[in-house]
Amino acid sequence: MEQKREEMFSLGDLYKEVIIDHTKAPRNFGKLEPCSHDAEGFNPLCGDQLHVYLQINDDNIIEDVKFEGQGCSISTASASLMTQVLKGKTVDAFNALFGAFHDMATADMDDEPDEDVLGKLAVLAGVKEFPSRIKCATLCWHTVKSAIEDAGEPAKTE
């Protein structure tokens, strides 16, 4: 009985209502034209495919970001939430979030996510209990990183 409660709790931990909502109606889904940066992400293990598009201005601010592709609930919701959070942020802020998100996804079970930094992204903290699903959540972040890096070093503000 004890174990049963534990299991119910864990599954709900991953598939929170917000995640189901973003799965069914992903935000910022589609192609961004024109865009300054784009990249494809691919998880060969599960076949998840992702394409992210970014419009980064001369001040290194992510003016717009969209994504398209096919993936599971976790990768779709993660990408959807990410696009909402990144809009209006600087590339430096992205880098900080990238680190924080990665830490959250691979943290110890008992660690609470830093909601001050992560904001609504903290809803994905449950993936750490599902080792085979961590890559689903981080794929979009790696894809944005490679989009930014592949285009060469973006102009620095300072």
Binding site: K4, Y15, I20, L45, C46, G47, Q49, Q70, C72, S73
Partner: protein, 404 residues
Amino acid sequence: MNIDNIRNDFPTLHQEVFGHPLVYLDNAATTQKPQCVIDKIKHYYEKDNSNIHRGVHSLSERATKDYEAARKTIRDFFNAKSTKEVIFTRGTTESINLVASSWGGANIGKGDEILITHMEHHSNIVPWQMLCERTGAVLKVIPMNEAGELDLTAYAELLNERTKLVGIVHMSNALGTINPIAEMIEQAHKVGAKVLIDGAQAAAHIATDLQALDIDFYATSAHKMYGPTGVGVLIAKEELLNAMPPYQGGGDMILMVTFEKTQYNELPHKFEAGTPNIAGVIGFGEALKYISNIGFEAIEKREKELLAYATKKAQSFEGLRQIGTAKHKACVLSFVLDGVHPHDLGTILDREGVAIRAGHHCAMPVMQFYKVPATARASFSIYNTEAEVDALFAALEKARDMFA
């Protein structure tokens, strides 16, 4: 055939996962191991552990005897002509790579054609692509229809005097289709092509008589037949093996070595360089004895019954689309469910104790054909029950409700 007795032979089955009895439906990835196989491997490491073919001491003699006895068991099981034709490898993948590298290297040239089917596992695609890149040969593909059955008319048209090898999966791991290899082999031989059969998925479920089918190269793995991982076999016609150069050089595959020249060992040792997976081979032999004791007649009848039960449930499950509906199929229920990605299904089902596979099943061209990124796959074995199929569908309902 008493399912309860069979289930009792498999210790792994008797455990709980997240508070639910384990329902293991990932048999196409690997089967569980019966106690007799586990005991046999344990016995080797506890009593007979030593190297084979070289020691004069008692342990080595015992280990060599058991290792070679397994070769005889495998010869009998597949009705190969002689134990010289039975080469132990790391598994199906290595067996196919051995053929592509050794036989392919010696026999395939520019403009030659290699024919494979649309439903091959990556292990029967990539080694041939690599060979084609090296030699300038051309890889051609036998198409299939929506049900996941090969187009035999197209096959007949693709065969020609340039076709040097036809690679066919006996049973598709992604679809469950059983291919009509007997007539396909006959047709290939008419144009002088050799045939390689990938038996990894079929070998535990359908009787395969290599001589009756006139198979040139046959590859399979122990771990999909209730045996250990990391060991498999290539069974090939003796005259082909004799004419082939060695695949790897090293110990055990030689008769005489000087710095000027090496004389290679006789078959089958010519293709078994280095210390092999001795415990694995011995366990492999024991696994085949286990299958033989149950008998293919009983196995095929039972597995057909269970697949029919599962298929019926699948057909009436709202939003479920079966991937692979061939007339001749076995043991595999591959599907997608509206609104729930296969990966989420895999995770949700796991929490209900139900183990399935989600992904492309190492058969990406099959996924491309059906225009799906992945499928969920439940695959059955002799120890699965109708109650487990019910548990699968109960868990699927739960998953569907979560995303409703």
